[in-house]
């Protein structure tokens, strides 16, 4: 492995810039939380950007933005930009987190679930 390969592998700013096409994602980005669940709606196609294809593969079953970030070893902010593309093209579905202001029913469901651990 050459030295330049190693640099490339480290997830440095240059690589992230290329992956996102230089978009920081602030304006056009979809509303995504670290725990928004993403599900693929179609299989990856040849010729797709590799990162887009990788997301479609790991999201065959629902996966949170945080988990996608972990599996692809890319910052969550970069995943957000990539997901915005995939959402715009209708290739993935986003399942939003539970409401911001939790209600008693939600809290009870969490307690029930924890008690089964």
């Amino acid at each position: 492995m050459s030295e330049s390969d190693q640099d490339w592998d480290k997830g440095g700013p240059e690589r992230l810039y290329v992956i996102t096409g230089g978009r920081a994602g602030a304006e056009e980005q979809a509303e995504l939380d670290l725990v928004t669940l993403i599900v693929s709606l179609e299989d990856s196609q040849p010729g797709m950007q590799p990162e887009h294809a990788a997301i479609l593969r790991v999201c065959r079953s629902p996966l949170s933005v945080a988990e996608i970030s972990a599996h692809l070893a890319l910052p969550a902010s970069v995943i957000g930009v990539l997901l915005t593309d995939l959402l715009a093209d209708g290739r993935v579905e986003a399942r939003a987190p539970a409401a911001n202001l939790p209600d008693i029913a939600l809290i009870e469901a969490v307690i029930d679930g924890l008690q089964k651990l």
Partner: protein, 206 residues
């Protein structure tokens, strides 16, 4: 070793896959200083091996210790470990461990938004980290409980002594836990949820 490409992306193992019925997720944040046991707690209750998400902070450094007049752009990568608990067929809970030191607070923006609440994991040998964290959580109106990770060589404070040392309101629960034990960590989570239920059910004093 080949450089990472889409072909080498780790796909979730079959047993780690969520059911397709998983429709919404909630999160709880575990805050504490280095080495206090955040990841240990996450690991003890998580159904998956804890994963790591990284965030890159790229901004002009605002550190007061910087050489004055020199504007530097710094790219700092901070890792957050997290785990997952499927609560039922639809609902999934994620647990994020995040460092409590002020220089990591930039991570908190997206993290606490929509979070159910926080667990402040405390090492009684290093209480000072907890002061800032607690102040910050109170400011942000995030419900939290205090969990004292019982390290064998730490002196055990009576809860009330700790409450006054941390200047905590009476209603904030303080529990002692062993973050290595699944049942103990689970009980901390349940304590937080019960507290949250009380907070919601109790009308604000007018």
């Amino acid at each position: 070793m080949v450089s990472r490409s889409s072909d080498t992306v780790m796909e979730p193992a079959r047993e780690d896959q969520l059911p397709s019925s998983a429709s919404s997720a909630v999160k709880i944040v575990i805050v504490g200083g280095f080495g206090v046991g955040k990841t240990t707690l996450v690991r003890s209750v998580s159904e998956i091996r804890p994963l790591t998400t990284e965030e890159t902070m790229t901004e002009a450094s605002t550190d007061v210790d910087d050489v004055s007049g020199v504007e530097r752009k710094t790219a700092t990568t901070v890792a957050m470990d997290f785990g997952r608990i499927s609560l039922n067929e639809e609902l999934v809970l994620y647990l994020f461990g995040t460092p409590g030191q002020q220089r990591f607070w930039f991570l908190w923006n997206g993290l606490f938004e929509g979070a159910l609440g926080a667990i402040v994991l405390v090492d009684t040998r290093r209480l000072e980290v907890s002061f800032d964290v607690i102040g910050r959580l109170e400011e942000a109106d995030v419900p939290f409980v205090i969990a004292v990770n019982a390290f064998p060589d730490a002196s055990s404070y009576p809860t009330e002594e700790l409450r006054s040392a941390l200047d905590l309101p009476e209603q904030v629960p303080i529990v002692v836990c062993d973050a290595r034990q699944r049942a103990s960590s689970r009980d901390v989570l349940i304590t937080l949820m019960r507290y949250l239920r009380d907070v919601i059910q109790t009308p604000e004093p007018s």
